[in-house]
Point group: D4
Chain length 148, copies 8
């Protein structure tokens, strides 16, 4: 059995690479899907494809259309969604992914430092599991495959 | 025809009362549903019902269970979801409601000041309509009922 | 038993009034839902609510968001969708409504003059019934209520 | 990861071949599905299989049944639907495919020249992304696979 | 609480009136929905609305479109489907209704004389309850409302 | 707003009456649905309607068909499911109702004494809220209606 | 692309082998799924697995449970359902499969001799295509794969 | 064709190994999925990943979150669910799996000794097939693959 896992969350640092290396060390048969993690490209993809837009709002609208195309395709292929929250940025699209995943009955692993327990409490309650860091997240994924 | 509209968003001020008065002035046949808007009670409802919890994290988990019970029941009865975002608070549960509403094919009205266009761009793209303030939101709702 | 019927199709003449009068003469217990039939307002609703847009394309995008909000709400409440096609205008949004209605398992009555049988053939095949004019459409609706 | 993409739209010229060559140049792991693109055969398939029909309307009904069998099977297997519109033909079945795809939560790429923005505005609003030509469409598909 | 019950089965005798009288005697709050029970009209409704068809096959196709419009609308409104089978006629459309009802998760009451147990065995296994006659069917419906 | 609440659980004592009285004291606009709570009748309903069965196993199969007809109809009409567990009886059908309710996205209130936390732990995790007794359950239901 | 096709219909002769040979000659990449076609075994499978049953009705109930397990698993895996009807036997389970397939949005090919057009008319109307014999059915399946 | 089968039920003895050996002897192309069958690890997995919890109730809540993550992922991948019940333990999570499987339209094989027919009667009625032991269960699975 192989699993597809979509990695929702901020794209300002390389936490996804860290997670993938941890999964690789445990030989977990997981395909990780992710949003565009080049932050500048994610912001500019609308104008890159469609050309210059009238103002910053329309530039954002254009970019988000292509980013959501990607997210929607990949989330439909995912067996599990893992969403990471930190103490920087608004991370509203990650929270939106949490809502979509649970409404679509995709089991969700929520990763957040304990210090964020209060603002994330309704998300935590909807998640299937809540963990504090990437090591615990990998253990949760590994547990699905373990037999003893 | 009557509509049920769920009002997602922060519960720190009385924006829902403002909106309901605007709807009332226009005689719109709308039933508004909302989360517990007494902020203290929303935070304490877990311990109010279940008694003292071991620590703040478990207090939050207990409270969010009852808050999500309310949200899940009311969102399933809603024909339209209206979500308001402002520049204060993390508002992750409102963003989660956005994701759930769109995944459940509930038409979504997103209300946010233009200044927040960048962090809300993926939510804006998933929403059916995006408006800047409550007056525009009421006009959007009213348009559903107007014939000329 | 009462039925909700959504009336998809062009908004350049008053065919919906004609249909509603025919239904009224037969005392059919039907609530008819419809798009904004004031054509100018339908085209301008985006700028009416959101203010002036950068160009005609963005004006159209803004208007269609509010028009689709209305259509999506009303189609979800409909028990039957009736879509009328004529020989003027592109009528792509009516054809889109046909696709959405059949994908949502809403029984569809397609009304088109026989002369249009070739371009409408795939829509006709997806429809539950195909009729040539509004009199036949009313007979189809009336048949649902008749007992002998 | 591989994707299945259904190519909706007119079958009077070879735009699908052009698109497939562009995808092939970029080595995109995409399986393209399409309707019968031999226009005469598409019109005659009903009589080809079932024999002569009473008149042109029944010939069309017979043909569209087999064409829709094909479309329904292929669209259910598609991860993404790409629909192209031009300034010729009514293209109602392509618009119907747009409605079906969005109702089935299939992410939709709408391709249309800017000149058609007005009649396609409600379809554009329902689409996940709207682009002006096939080069932009390929860039949208490629973006799903790119990591930086 | 009130229930909507769709009465599937042959339309050659007045078994539905018998059933409705039994329900009426017990004051059950049930709305019964049914197909057109005037057999001749059911066979002729296609030509009645659309005019003469090329041959008997097309006459049947036209009639069944209007009959299925009615069935599809009413079955979607039903809380329970009751399907009666007897030893005359092929009753394929009633059997089709059984398949549709169970696939749509509509609880199904199958009524058939014991003598037909062999040909109805797969339908019986898919039904929620199987009874031998209309008196037992009414008892099954009544049981839903009884408290002691 | 009114709510329909299905009361799953054992039928050996009158806990449902106790709960309904508590709801009545608080004037909650709730319609409670429940299984047949006359235990003997619940066990005998199969033979009551269908006549004597070959042995105890077939008697049980016959009875459960009518009991499940009732449960399936009522659970589909429920907005919330409340399931009570105690320390007597196997209560497998109540646990089955828990699984069905959560799979159908019906918000679930689980009521069990704390002493049963270990055997009920997977059910507790799937439930929206877990409470220890009927007073807490009523508070949870009341919270859905309260505004401050 | 490969397709899974479930072959519903009577199991008294070897029409499925005939069909599979025709598909094989055309090298169609189709996996055919089918019910148990050994008629005696299909009737006896309940007692074969569970032992002797009290009477013929219970023997049938036992057999149909295992036959429906098979049908339900295979129909869920099918991309297309092909149902054949002839002039012998009641064929109610095949008609039930027609209803289930269309309710599950599985494209359906109905095969029946023209002489049966009247009793099959409602099924014919729900089917995606209707053909007269197995040669036409194979042409319909082949058309899904053909490009010119 | 290969099948995925989820094995629900108690984890106190090695009945799953017995079943898998029986399937292996018959060369059935089945992938068996199962919960964590190391009972101690299943109870402790919450604290193993998240660290010590405040008390036994929270330890159970933590463990069940990871156990349900596993169950939810695997049940969604299953074509068939097999649930075994015995006369020891409460087995409420297995009964919950029965409810979830049937609500998700996963065909269910219920295995229970005849002596348990009374408490399992509502589950038995919802199951697709009911058998008495693992040998009969294997025969039921094998029957799906057999052609004569």
């Amino acid at each position: 059995m192989e699993l597809n896992v979509y990695l929702a969350g901020q794209i300002h640092d390389d936490w996804r690479e860290t997670l993938k290396q941890k999964a690789s060390k445990k030989d977990l048969p997981i395909h990780f899907f992710e949003p565009m993690t080049n932050h500048d490209r994610s912001d500019n993809i609308g104008e890159e494809i469609l050309g210059e837009q009238p103002n910053a709002i329309f530039k954002d609208e254009a970019a988000s259309a292509f980013n959501n195309l990607r997210t929607n395709v990949l989330m439909q292929k995912a067996d599990v969604v893992l969403a990471l929250f930190g103490d920087q940025y608004k991370q509203w699209n990650a929270a939106m992914d949490v809502g979509a995943a649970t409404a679509l009955n995709k089991p969700l692993i929520l990763v957040r430092p304990e210090s964020l327990h209060h603002p994330s409490k309704e998300m935590a309650n909807q998640a299937q599991v809540v963990v504090n860091d990437l090591d615990q997240a990998i253990e949760a994924l590994a547990y699905i495959f373990q037999n003893e």
